[in-house]
């Protein structure tokens, strides 16, 4: 079956996640071979996801980890005088 661009766009997210069935995957891939517009859309979407997962894009505040563990340390010290964690509300 020959797919239209619009049909490819509807499935682009699932295609990226590898969750389309084998038949549809094959149809999409055949379409991508000759359609530069859809190939470019797919590439750009993928690149955005790569960039999103890159740790440098969404950075943690400087010192976040240190402050978190200091807070946790205080909490643990406090709870040492109490029963084991989670035992009571």
């Amino acid at each position: 079956m020959k797919l239209e661009c619009k049909h490819v766009w509807e499935h682009i997210s699932e295609y990226i996640d590898g969750s389309v069935d084998a038949k549809l995957r094959e149809d999409i891939e055949r379409h991508l071979e000759h359609c530069e517009i859809c190939s470019a859309i797919l590439d750009s979407t993928r690149n955005i996801l790569v960039l999103t997962a890159d740790d440098r894009t969404f950075e943690l505040p400087v010192g976040y980890s240190k402050r978190l563990h200091e807070r946790l340390k205080e909490e643990i010290a406090k709870s040492k005088a109490e029963p084991p964690p989670g035992g009571a509300e």
């Binding site: 766009w9 750009s44 996801l49 969404f58 035992g87």
Partner: protein
């Protein structure tokens, strides 16, 4: 998030048996995830950090109620989501259900933006600070329900099922929202790429 499940279960058992300091080790691989989950909800750095601390402390206090049938990461994410929603309600001073029960619209234009010169954009364009900044802004500006799914799935790299479980929605809702979020971002960033990365056909040298 590559923690081995059996190691983790062992760690949890030891913490509950009294080796409380090991909680530092247990939480280590998830610090980033907790912060990003909070940030995806409250959209403010300071508030997200406070919330992340509260979520981690809460997880420590309630570790005894963690059941091994869920993944620890999913359980922890649920705590982080609840903490975020609590803060959002407080900030907005609204009734609980007015925030949590947004649903996606049936209609809407969720078609990607066509671009013809993507392949001519130099790879270095992806390394640009401005592009990262544009992506951060675009993600922050996504409607809440789309941003939260996108954050868990594509930022924290949870799978569809875990994302559904943590947010308390169906896997098909996750798929629909994820698709729309990705398309909205593609649309937002394509013009940016076009304007900041002029095509350089036939350019073989390197800029000095």
């Amino acid at each position: 998030m590559q923690t081995n499940n059996t190691d983790e279960a062992g760690l949890i058992a030891r913490i509950l048996a009294g080796e409380k300091e090991l909680f530092h080790e247990l939480i280590g691989p998830y610090e980033r995830m907790v912060y990003l989950t909070l940030f995806s909800i409250v959209k403010n750095e300071a508030e997200a950090e406070d919330g992340a601390q509260e979520a981690v402390i809460s997880a420590y206090r309630h570790l005894g109620s963690f059941r091994g049938d869920a993944k620890f990461s999913t359980w922890l994410t649920t705590i982080a989501i609840n903490e975020g929603r609590k803060r959002l309600r407080k900030a907005k001073g609204r009734a609980e259900d007015s925030i949590d029960e947004q649903i996606e619209e049936l209609e809407g234009d969720y078609t990607p933006a066509p671009l013809t010169d993507w392949r001519e954009i130099p790879l270095e364009a992806l390394e640009r600070k401005e592009l990262r900044e544009a992506l951060r802004v675009a993600v922050t500006e996504l409607p809440d329900i789309y941003r939260q799914v996108f954050a868990l799935r594509d930022l924290e790299e949870m799978n569809i099922e875990e994302t559904a479980e943590a947010l308390g929605i169906t896997t098909s809702a996750v798929k629909v929202r994820l698709h729309r979020a990705r398309i909205m971002l593609q649309k937002r960033l394509v013009p940016f790429l076009k304007t900041t990365a002029p095509a350089r056909k036939g350019f073989f040298g390197r800029a000095l």
